[in-house]
């Protein structure tokens, strides 16, 4: 420990020294850590907090505070939230260095993991999993597994975040972690989706099979996932699609024919294949359709992710939509521009047409940073074609006058590339470049020379005057690369300038020793070529140059001289090779191809780091090639319900839209089969409905979300379900999911699972071809929270179009109000449309009467709500429930004894039936003999409490507590019926 003291003192000195440089107060404060330790040991939270703030400030500045570890870690259980948080910050930073001491804090987090508050559970897991101490791996594993089946989606999200942490700490846990990932992938909340896919990408990106069953769900959830998660999911799905679907561009013209969501049966699919070359898998279409709205995201990373998805996956004819969004990003921060332009540069080579309309958006301003200018130039060059080249060249002319010389050089190269690619303008460009040779700036001249050299190689015979002109430049130009280029040109085409060439060599021989290496090499080349063509005049000069080169300092040059002498000067020793010297040196050389540096970069997934660097970055997942034949598409079918397939194409969910503020307290959602789901599809569903296995294991972790594949309801009443399907009814599912019973304290809530019933508003016959169905979607009606949302589905069975569908002449009881749906302007024959209207029923079951009008007819219709639809779920704890129930006794309480239906004797079915009958949410309950539900009426917000207590032999007691006696009575009736029938 004496060593410790010495270290400690030394450390003090360092601190003193460092803080002296700081203009801040740290000088006084940090003169001794003993102060801090004292403060941390004190009883006052304020002192502890002050100490922790100073310590965190030290960490932030990169100063070592590790010696305070014992003093800090004691405060891990401090009551003060901020102290606690700062201790966590410290702990995560230093735990790795002080593993033994860090273990002292673990029990606090273990306790936190059991806290009833989900936020505390989550934060405990977050810190625990951030402590990089190998020895706690088993504890972390256990905690992650438990959290993965927590009832709170937020805790499950945290569990997903913890997975990569544990994986990087101990890769041997991979197999177990994959199990957790698999479980979390099945999660249906938007909160979890992004995080678990991130974990998937980091732990087991090769396990593409885990995605199959979750593919459609991920596509449908995508729009509601938070933006960072969207990026990860889209990138992963791009890879997935490349392994599962066929290349939509495989046979050229197929791009213009697309089959929107063709939901044909598989045999039909095969028939199709024989007739038509390519049919897009509906799942492929689903992905394209559901990602498209995200091009409007404010987050550049999301827009880029969608853009690359379209670039890699969409039929040619559809890729164009991304151009506009990418061009919009060019207004963003310059770093964003930099990345976007790199990607546009790659895309514009393959799909030039896409960006052509936006040519002007790539015009360069003098205020752009050079790196942006150069990239824009690249894009402009890629976009150049016969029609726009004159505009582009005019633009380039202004660029050449720029003060930014690096940019001018890049422009000259761009002109060269345009000239090689578009033969019509080659001469114009060449002339322009030759004019630049008289520019005052040497860099400009040099760059021009290099480019001219490349252009001349294409047709040297036509341009001997330019070569002459350039020969003169050797007197002035000092840039080595340019001098070398000129010498090479003269040597190569010495026959075109027979008089000048020897003279140039003479001058060069004079200055040989002062030239740069590349120039020296070209002088030797020139000498050799002249010797071979015009040895009379140049023999001596060549000898002289070779002799100079022989004693050069650079061995490359010495080697070259030796090699060339052997080759061109015939001696006895020189073999057969020298006969061919002329052929060797003056062979016709192919003209260089001026290519974009971005050519073929698209073998990297666009938008990736690897693409940007044009080199594979660590952890990069290759973008697979399209398969030759499509793998079995049925792997994506989810066995739960047939309706899934239709649901898989439902896209009317909206960014947070259909969710009201109360979503966390028992929410609901509904999905109608989308418009295209025609009769035919329906038949298919019926055909397909073979008995399914009831998935008991999935019961425990059903959670809500846009999918209607609630697995909970199906095992019991498959009969009624067939009904449901026939009538195209739509299910909704559950929200609250409980953990398996054996897990102890938090498992109380098994959620309400309900099936939305749909009712007929207008029959096909009365409606003269127009049929209308409605259901109570159980979603908050966003324009007015006091209204019940009624979702209507219009089907036009007639052979002519129906226009101007709207509501008129609403007749209501006093107090009731209606918010009409927006007029449906056109409903084509055979099509289906949905609309949502809101009705404030004033907590009564009175019908709302109105006329449904088309452009030709009016129909009298009415909507009468079942009492169960007049309420919306609220989330109460057990205690709150009991408290509220206590206040609703006497007249407000109705109790009925009943005998449960034989099929309805387990808790699960009871919950399901009650929540189907009434829009209520489950209340956690300690006893397994009781099921409790709570809700509030929509208009007045009166509490509705329902208790079902079960006894032996199916006997049960139903209690309803409600301030509104009428509602209570009617509800008792409805629930009784639901439970006994």
């Amino acid at each position: 420990s004496s060593k410790n003291i010495i270290n400690y003192n030394f450390y003090e000195l360092v601190i003193l020294f460092n803080s002296a440089n700081d203009n801040k107060i740290f000088y006084l404060i940090w003169s001794s850590h003993d102060d801090l330790k004292e403060m941390l040991d004190s009883n006052k939270d304020s002192l502890k907090l002050e100490a922790m703030k100073r310590i965190v400030a030290m960490i932030a500045r990169g100063k070592n505070a590790s010696d305070l570890f014992p003093a800090v870690v004691k405060n891990v259980a401090c009551k003060n939230i901020e102290v606690k948080k700062l201790v966590y910050v410290y702990l995560v930073r230093y735990a790795e260095e002080q593993q033994d001491l860090a273990l002292l804090s673990i029990s606090t987090f273990q306790r936190g993991l059991k806290d009833p508050n989900q936020l505390i559970r989550a934060s405990a897991l977050r810190v625990l999993s951030s402590i990089r101490v190998t020895i706690i791996v088993p504890i972390m594993m256990l905690a992650i597994k438990e959290a993965a089946s927590d009832m709170s989606p937020y805790v499950r999200k945290t569990a997903a975040h913890a997975i990569p942490k544990l994986y990087s700490l101990d890769p041997e846990q991979k197999d177990q972690l994959i199990e957790v990932i698999e479980k979390l992938l099945a999660d249906k909340t938007t909160l979890v989706a992004g995080s678990v896919v991130m974990a998937f990408e980091e732990v087991c990106p090769e396990r593409i099979d885990l995605i199959h069953k979750n593919y459609r769900k991920l596509c449908n959830l995508l729009i509601d996932v938070e933006e960072w998660g969207q990026v990860v999911i889209i990138n992963m799905l791009t890879r997935y699609a490349r392994t599962q679907f066929l290349n939509p561009n495989i046979n050229g013209g197929s791009g213009d024919k697309t089959f929107y969501g063709s939901d044909e049966d598989e045999d039909e699919d095969e028939e199709e294949k024989e007739k038509k070359p390519y049919v897009m898998d509906p799942d492929h279409r689903l992905l394209l359709r559901n990602t498209k709205p995200l091009l409007q995201s404010r987050n550049a990373a999301v827009v880029m992710a969608v853009a690359q998805l379209y670039f890699h996956l969409a039929p040619k004819a559809e890729v164009g939509v991304i151009a506009k969004a990418l061009v919009r990003l060019l207004r963003s921060h310059s770093e964003v521009q930099y990345v976007v332009l790199q990607n546009v540069a790659t895309m514009s080579i393959k799909r030039r047409g896409m960006f052509e309309p936006y040519l002007k958006s790539f015009y360069i301003r003098s205020t752009d940073p050079t790196q942006i200018k150069v990239l824009k130039l690249e894009v402009l060059t890629n976009l150049a074609n016969e029609t726009n080249i004159s505009t582009i060249l005019r633009e380039f002319q202004t660029y050449i006058k720029s003060m930014d010389k690096d940019f001018v050089a890049a422009t000259i190269q761009a002109i060269g590339r345009c000239a090689t690619n578009i033969s019509e303008v080659r001469d114009t460009c060449l002339n322009g470049l030759v004019q630049l040779l008289s520019n005052r700036d040497e860099l400009v001249v040099a760059e021009s020379v290099v480019v001219i050299k490349k252009l001349l190689q294409m047709q040297p015979e036509k341009h001997s005057d330019i070569i002459k002109h350039m020969a003169k430049l050797t007197d002035n130009i000092q840039v080595p690369m340019a001098r070398a280029s000129i010498l090479w040109l003269i040597g190569e085409y010495c026959e075109h300038v027979p008089k000048i060439a020897p003279d140039v060599l003479r001058k060069m021989a004079k200055s040989f020793t002062n030239e740069e290496d590349i120039v020296k090499l070209q002088i030797i080349n020139l000498a050799a070529k002249l010797y071979l063509t015009n040895s009379k005049q140049t023999k001596l000069l060549t000898q002289y140059v070779l002799n100079l080169a022989k004693y050069d300092q650079n061995y490359d040059i010495r080697d070259r001289a030796r090699f060339i002498r052997q080759l061109i000067v015939p001696t006895e020793k020189s073999g057969a090779l020298s006969k061919y010297a002329k052929k060797l040196f003056l062979a016709l050389k192919p003209a260089p191809v001026l290519e974009s540096p971005f050519k073929d970069r698209d073998h990297f997934q666009l938008g990736s780091l690897s693409h940007l660097l044009n080199a594979k970055a660590g952890g990069y997942q290759e973008l697979p090639d399209w398969p030759e034949a499509a793998p079995d598409p049925s792997v994506r079918n989810v066995e739960v319900k047939e309706s899934v397939r239709a649901v898989g194409t439902v896209t009317h969910r909206d960014t947070g839209a259909l969710w009201g503020p109360q979503r966390m307290e028992g929410s609901e959602s509904c999905s109608f089969p989308r418009a295209q789901s025609s009769e035919e599809e329906e038949r298919k569903h019926q055909r397909k409905s073979k008995p399914r296995k009831s998935e008991s294991e999935s019961e425990s972790d059903e959670d809500e979300e846009s999918e209607s594949e609630s697995s909970q309801s199906e095992s019991e009443d498959s009969e009624s379900e067939a009904e449901v399907k026939k009538k195209k009814k739509v299910q909704t599912r559950v929200n609250y999911r409980g953990r398996p019973q054996e897990e102890g304290v938090f498992l109380q809530t098994i959620a309400p699972s309900s099936t939305l019933k749909s009712y007929e508003l207008l029959h096909r016959i009365t409606g003269e071809g127009l049929s209308v169905e409605y259901c109570f979607s159980r979603q908050p009606f966003s324009p007015d929270a006091n209204m019940v949302a009624v979702q209507m589905q219009f089907t036009n069975n007639a052979s002519s179009d129906t226009k101007n569908l709207h509501i008129e002449d609403v007749k209501l009881q006093s107090g009731m109000r209606v918010k009409e749906f927006p007029e449906i302007e056109l409903l084509p024959a055979g099509e289906t449309a949905t609309a949502v209207m809101g009705i404030d029923f004033c907590d009564s079951t009175q019908a709302a009467n109105f006329q449904l009008c088309t452009h030709t007819r009016k129909f009298f219709v009415s909507i009468q709500p079942p009492v169960g639809e007049l309420m919306r779920p609220v989330f109460l704890t057990e205690n709150e429930f009991k408290k509220e129930q206590g206040q609703l006794m006497g007249m407000n309480e109705i109790t009925e004894k009943l005998t449960l239906d034989v099929k309805c004797r387990n808790e699960h079915t009871i919950v399901q039936r009650v929540t189907t009958a009434a829009n209520l949410s489950r209340v956690p309950c300690g006893s397994d003999k009781e099921c409790r539900f709570a809700g509030r009426t929509v208009t007045s917000g009166s509490l509705v409490l329902v208790t079902v207590a079960t006894k032996e032999e199916g006997a049960a007691q139903l209690t309803v507590n409600c301030e509104k006696m009428v509602i209570g009575t009617m509800l008792v009736k409805d629930i009784l019926q639901a439970l006994t029938q």
């Binding site: 020895i135 404010r298 660590g618």
Partner: protein, 471 residues
Amino acid sequence: MNHSQGFLKDIQISCLVVGWLLSNTASIILSFRVWGGQSMTDSAPSWFFYSAEMIHSLFLINHLGDIFLEKHWKSVISRSVCDYFFEAREKAVDPENVPPVLQTPHHYLISIYRGKLFFLSVIQTEVPPLFVIEFLHRVADTFQDYFGECSESVISDNLVIVYELLEEMLDNGFPLATESNVLKEMIRPPNILRSVVNTLTGGSNVGETLPQGQLSNIPWRRAGVKYANNEAYFDVTEEIDAIVDKSGTTVSAEIQGVIEACVKLSGMPDLTMSFMNPRLLDDVSFHPCVRFRRWESERVLSFIPPDGNFTLMTYHISSQNLVAIPVYVKQSINFFEAGSCGRLDITIGPKQTMGKTVEDLKVTIHMPKAVLNANLTATQGNYTYDCTTKMLVWDIGKLNPQKLPNLRGSLSMQTGVPNPEENPSLNIDLKIQQLAISGLKVSRLDMYGEKYKPFKGVKYVTKAGKFQVRT
């Protein structure tokens, strides 16, 4: 048990700690050893393993190249990694020209430049670069939002809050809470009164309530918002990006529009904004609160707003459309070989101003290096010429259509240096109040879901964005 007690003694934990340690902790420690199967001293350091996470570390660097803050979300990465960045910074001359993505032997560095600060993140594996860049800008935005500016001094003054924010924004290198409303629930922004009270009472920056926002499906809005005066203001700002050539023809012109909102409404208001001419908006991006389907079907903005200031939408009217250019510029700038001088003559006049007044008119010219000084007269406003940066700034103010402002005079040039071949371009700044140059107009704003009557207001302003006149 012996073992664990010995271990405790080793590290000289005070009695207090032992008392605080529950007995079960001790047994857990004991059992760790059994599970771990290896002694703690020879366990491999965690960075030994391949670790894949998005953002590993963040360094904040000022314009002098000092690192004044570092934050690591996983194991610590030495500051020396920044040397690669400094090298590139040196090479780039201009901070704007530092490549945002750099490759070093073991890491990748992705940086942004904001408010004279570099935000430098260290990455170890493949990650979409825009993901990181967008996140770093979000961090800078958050600082701006919390402290009013994003500068070294303000960050250093609020080091602890900054650190707490960074802790919440990223978990293991993956963004966690980036919504300002959620963050403000967890970590309160500083204000003078509270910091005085905090120092006296030892109060804290951390919110007492646990943040519920993160749990909700509308994470952008906090619950239980209450205001005495309910108001919603919207600023429609349009910027014209244009390139006008020598002869006065428009080479390209685009409009960048943004609707910034300041919404202070109680409860859970559900707003609907509709436009007179929504057809103008064909390229838009929205705050996540906007219901996209509703926009697609009805062309109205329907949303539950975040509380406070936020950007509701941005839109882009591309160069394919006809864009009104509010001013014209007549200019001639000539440099003469003989006498090493130059002449400059600039006049500005109104073009398509829709009857409004052009204000805050300003012309900035970046002169060639050879221009030593400017000797000019302005009929309106003042001009300055900075010999070191070669910037000529002419601040005109209000544009009077009756008496057009003119700036003319001579430029003195460095002798013996050949005349610059290039002509500098003119950058124009201007402002027009009460006008959205695209013609966009908000027709109405409705509120559902709450009973009170809010005060509503919409303000329009047009500005010059990157407005350049070539000479």
